[in-house]
Symmetry: C2
Subunit: 125 residues, 2 copies
Amino acid sequence: MILLDYRDKRPIYEQVVEKLERLIASGGLEPLTKMPSVRSLAMELSVNPNTIQRAYAQLEKDGYLYTVSGRGTFVTAESDWRESRQGKALEQWRHAVRKAQEAGLSEELLREQLHQIYAQEEVPT
Amino acid sequence: MILLDYRDKRPIYEQVVEKLERLIASGGLEPLTKMPSVRSLAMELSVNPNTIQRAYAQLEKDGYLYTVSGRGTFVTAESDWRESRQGKALEQWRHAVRKAQEAGLSEELLREQLHQIYAQEEVPT
DNA sequence: TAAGTGTATTGGGATAATTAATACACTTAT
DNA sequence: ATAAGTGTATTAATTATCCCAATACACTTA
């Protein structure tokens, strides 16, 4: 399903989160499909089950997965995780705007830059 | 020059950075004035000189101070640190914009939000 | 040359983060 | 009902990181 990079010095769970998030966001996993169990994915990657559990918990917090106790964890419907993702991105963006405002940057400058960035390319992912 | 708050559980050097940054940004220290030496400020606050050194290094990285080896460290000209601060804020903001774009948020939405935020108040700090 | 400046290096101690070990609770199929 | 499969909670061990101190070095100037 995914492959770990041993040269990567980030914690394992974080790597798993990133890879799965990318996989889901790119449509590589159909909504509502069952994820591999905590134990089986742990076996497959040769890591402790708790590490996978932590990754799943994070992905659930971010809206990409949901879990039914005793049954397993599943991929969220696309509309749901898109909404969650947008909400987070918007909140972070707003924070950056306030910082920019405090630094004395004008609304006009930001509006220009905004247009310029959006003009560059159509959203890759 | 500044006063440490012992109830504050952040590291000392961080507290020093924040207090000095605030002092400089608010005009409490004239540009080009010489800062107290690493050792003297350390003595005054009863901390290790390395702690002050770390704070000064951070402030230099942020553009508030500059240092001449053997002579001392000095307050940057206002135009310079304002520029530095704006550059950093702008860069972070651009990053947030790209994230928002990737998440599928429209330029129009961001432009609206931008206007709304700027309309709220005239920049406090 | 001596005193004052910032800087680099190293290490100790504490704290936090990451992963592991184990036991528990729930669901489902046999 | 029992066993096997699922996620979860708790606790511990290990590892990494952070903060601060001690000390020595390099540079400038009186």
